[in-house]
Structure formats: C-alpha cells, structure tokens
C-alpha cells in the first residue's frame, strides 16, 4: 500500500534561515512525487513535482529512492512561505488515486 509520512506537524524558522520539510514515502515501484501548498484562506495548489526538476518560489525537492524521501528545501525562508505543505505520492500500480501526507505547517517569523 502507498503511504506518505511527514514527520513534522509544525516547523518554525526565522526569515532568512534554511528550510527543509521532510517527506518519506512507501512504495516499491517508480514513484511520482509532488508537493502541494495551501496558503492561508486559499485552496490547495501544486507547488512542484519531481519529474519536472524545477525550482518554484525558490523551493526544490530531490527524489532519493534509496532513502525513499522527497524532502522540500529552500535556502532562505521568506515570511510569505508560511503555509501548510503536503507531500503527495502519485497513483501507480493500476490505481488512479494520489495519496497525501498529513501536512507540515511552516511558520516563518520576521
């Protein structure tokens, strides 16, 4: 069964500090992984996906198959990065269903 684990419910940092939001997944095949973000009073939206290997708003995420991780990183946090972040595992093995982690709340203090 697919599973996504985000071990931290809350991550609190100061502006300018590096940020790493952890995500581990459980899946035996070739995973597709995503990060979604939900800013205050906004809808959940896609932030980035591993296959595009892009940097969005300064965030990057590298898929590490050996450690089954897909941690989200940003070298210098900004106050506007404060939000809920959800890691998601794309559908696979005949299923159409993406699986979400429980989310990490990132608070960036001025």
């Amino acid at each position: 069964a697919q599973r996504v684990t985000q071990p931290e419910k809350l991550l609190s940092v100061f502006k300018g500090a590096p940020v790493e939001l952890k995500c581990n997944y459980s899946y035996s095949g070739s995973p597709e992984l995503f990060w979604y973000v939900q800013y205050s009073r906004q809808r959940l939206q896609l932030l980035l996906r591993h296959i595009s290997r892009e940097s969005i708003k300064g965030f990057t995420a590298d898929l590490n198959k050996g450690e089954t991780s897909f941690h989200l990183k940003k070298p210098f946090a900004q106050e506007e990065d404060s939000a809920m972040y959800y890691c998601a595992l794309g559908p696979s093995g005949g299923s159409y269903i993406p699986t979400f982690g429980r989310g990490t709340s990132l608070i960036v203090h001025p």
Partner: protein, 115 residues
C-alpha cells in the same frame, strides 16, 4: 470560472440531516476526486470518477456517503443522516487526464459542521 468550484463553502447541519455538496470541475477534466480533510490532517481519499464512471469508492467511510457525476462534469457528494464525526472539509479535485492524476486542481472545499 477557470477553477474548480465547490458549494456550499460552509454548511452547518443538525445530526441526522442529509447534506449535498456540489463540485464543478474545470471544463474538460476527465478525472474527479473527492477527499475528506479532518482538522489537522491531510486529505483522505473518498471516491474517484473518470468521466461519469465511479471507478473507485473504496474511501467512502460508510453507506451513508454517496457520490455521483451523472453527465461526467458536475459531481455531488451526498451524506445521509449526518453524524458528528462527518464534520470535516470536503475537497473536490480534478485533473485533465487519468494518466496525470498526481497533478490535481483543487476547489476551495466545503466545510461541514454537524451539531
């Protein structure tokens, strides 16, 4: 509108009442999902449609929950005889192709409170 639209945004129901939540996906999107999000939790899968076909309803918590998408566009999630544990935000999401269902477009959600 261009995005996924859900209504009502907020619903307060007395225990035992029936509720209906509507989702209007992005035009042309084949895949439609319903998720339930309890306070402090991530989205939990409820059911999935590909056009009008309900291909997976394994996440529906009980037979009080029913979903339909009769014409392959608008979908309705119905909860009968609501219970307090049904209180949650119900999220609808759509995607263009079945092969691309990791990339979802979400609505703003319908927050249900059962008293």
């Amino acid at each position: 509108g261009a995005g996924v639209s859900q209504s009502p945004r907020y619903k307060v129901a007395k225990r035992g009442q029936d509720v209906a939540l509507r989702c209007d996906p992005i035009s042309g999107h084949v895949s439609l999902f319903w998720y339930q999000q309890a306070l402090g939790q991530g989205p939990e899968f409820l059911t999935y449609f590909q056009n009008e076909a309900q291909l997976d309803k394994s996440g529906l918590p009980s037979d009080r929950f029913f979903a339909e998408r009769p014409e392959g566009s608008v979908s309705t999630l119905k909860i009968q005889r609501t219970q307090q544990e049904d209180s949650a935000v119900y999220l609808c999401a759509s995607s263009l192709h079945p092969q691309n269902t990791g990339e979802l477009f979400f609505g703003e959600g319908s927050r249900l409170t059962v008293l």
